[in-house]
């Protein structure tokens, strides 16, 4: 990993033969922004390159996932796949029972070769009922959700201000939106970002 990191770092400095384009060599050019984007699915039609559900089992590099519409997906994770579980994580962090969203390329055999996998990601809105030691007790449509603050990970975004690791401006009784990682089969969430309207 260190050597790969060293290689990537040196690429940023403009050295190494494998660099295709870099800020150090000038701009990537405006045409890059209009480079061929992947085909967008038709409205109302299921996107074949997307899958969601919960992991039933893990076999080698393949996740067996049962979708909420009872459709079964096989999702292959490769070297280039990004996995998110409150932050970028390795494949070993994926566990049976985790919920996921995955995006990738559908193979002819029906398997989804994943480019990105988001594990247990949730986006909930509610009122802050109470704040205790490193925890926010959220009232989400009358249901209690216990949100854990993870030091070094959780940030608060107040209005349009840049994200801050300081969550102490949040108040009991206010409305918030929380993005985070659900702890499977509990009503608990680890906080990635708290959005506060003020």
């Amino acid at each position: 990993m260190t050597t790969r990191r060293q290689m990537l770092k040196s690429a940023l400095l403009g050295s190494g033969a494998t660099v295709v384009a870099a800020t150090a060599m000038g701009s990537l050019g405006p045409e890059a922004a209009f480079a061929a984007a992947p085909d967008q699915p038709e409205p109302g039609v299921l996107d074949p390159d997307f899958a969601e559900g919960r992991i039933r089992s893990i076999k080698d590099n393949t996740l067996m996932v049962l979708g909420s519409n009872m459709v079964f997906h096989q999702i292959r994770v490769v070297d280039g796949t990004s996995l998110w579980k409150l932050g970028p994580v390795g494949f070993d962090q994926a566990r049976p029972g985790d919920g996921l969203y995955a995006r990738g390329v559908r193979m002819p055999d029906g398997m989804l070769a994943a480019e990105s996998v988001w594990l247990n990601i949730v986006n909930i809105k509610g009122h802050v009922r109470n704040i205790t030691n490193e925890k926010i007790h959220l009232d989400h449509n009358g249901k209690d959700v216990l949100c854990h603050v993870v030091p070094g990970r959780s940030v608060a975004v107040h209005s349009d201000a840049p994200p801050s690791a300081d969550l102490s401006l949040l108040r009991v009784g206010q409305h918030v939106q929380i993005m985070g990682a659900w702890r499977p089969d509990t009503n608990e969430v680890d906080i990635a970002t708290v959005f506060s309207p003020h």
Partner: protein, 260 residues
């Protein structure tokens, strides 16, 4: 015992009067009647008339409790009404668990254990009131009655915003449970927000095919790598006080993706 019971009718009557007046006079209550369990069980059009009917029943029982002479029937009427409350709560918690109870005013919280405890306490007080008579009032009875009033208020979720929320806000201000413990840790999200606003990311975004794969900190910079359609995009993001224009990017040709 009888001395303690002597004040029960007044506690119950005061509570019923308050509940009835809230139902009859609160404009907010009427406008939000559609969200109560009554509206869900009997139809939105009947919610307001039903709330008024319940209010009249509460007023009648309060009047009977307050008007002399006291008889065991006063307490019995209050007990019947409290049993009705309990039955309504139990039924609405089963049939329409998302609705609020509409007991003491408009609020969005569904029926919870406190609503049951409050109705149960009213029932217990009513049973006590059956034995009430024209006995002299003892100081102990006053203390107990005051405790009952406080318990009824504490068991009313409708009043949380007047005492529970402010007291929690004060406690949070004093104890600061979310104060930053390790200020030297810079969350990844902070760097990503800077990255997303950078010209380097804007030019490279169309190439990216994955979310962030890896990141590490070195020499005051945070490096983040993404898959970019068979290649790898690597960004360097300033950790301390950088501008979006300071973010740099490189697209790197790597061997084709290997299966793990």
């Amino acid at each position: 015992m009888q001395g303690i019971a002597a004040l029960q009718p007044y506690v119950i009557a005061a509570f019923l009067l308050w509940a009835a007046l809230m139902k009859l006079l609160s404009r907010r209550m009427r406008s939000q009647a559609g969200r109560t369990a009554l509206a869900r069980l009997f139809g939105p059009a009947r919610a307001v008339p039903l709330l008024r009917l319940v209010a009249v029943a509460e007023l009648a029982v309060a009047g009977v409790l307050l008007a002399p002479p006291s008889s065991p029937w006063d307490g019995t009427a209050a007990a019947v009404l409290s049993t009705g409350f309990l039955a309504y709560l139990a039924y609405s918690a089963r049939a329409v668990p998302d609705s609020s109870c509409g007991c003491l005013g408009a609020h969005g919280r569904p029926v919870e254990w406190r609503s049951f405890a409050r109705a149960g306490l009213l029932l217990a007080l009513s049973v006590l009131a059956v034995t009430a008579g024209p006995y002299p009032i003892e100081p102990l009875a006053v203390v107990i009655a005051a405790a009952e009033v406080l318990a009824l208020l504490a068991l009313s979720p409708e009043l949380d915003r007047h005492w529970l929320t402010p007291s929690r806000q004060l406690l949070v201000r004093l104890t600061r449970p979310l104060a930053v413990r390790e200020p030297e840790l810079i969350p990844l999200e902070t760097s990503l927000r800077l990255l997303y606003r950078s010209p380097a990311y804007c030019t490279a975004a169309a190439h990216l095919s994955s979310d962030i794969q890896d990141f590490w900190d070195e020499d005051g910079l945070r490096y983040a790598s993404y898959a970019a359609r068979g290649r790898t995009a690597v960004f360097s993001i300033p950790l301390y006080g950088g501008a979006p224009a300071d973010v740099r990017v490189a697209l790197v040709e790597e061997p084709a993706l290997r299966v793990m």
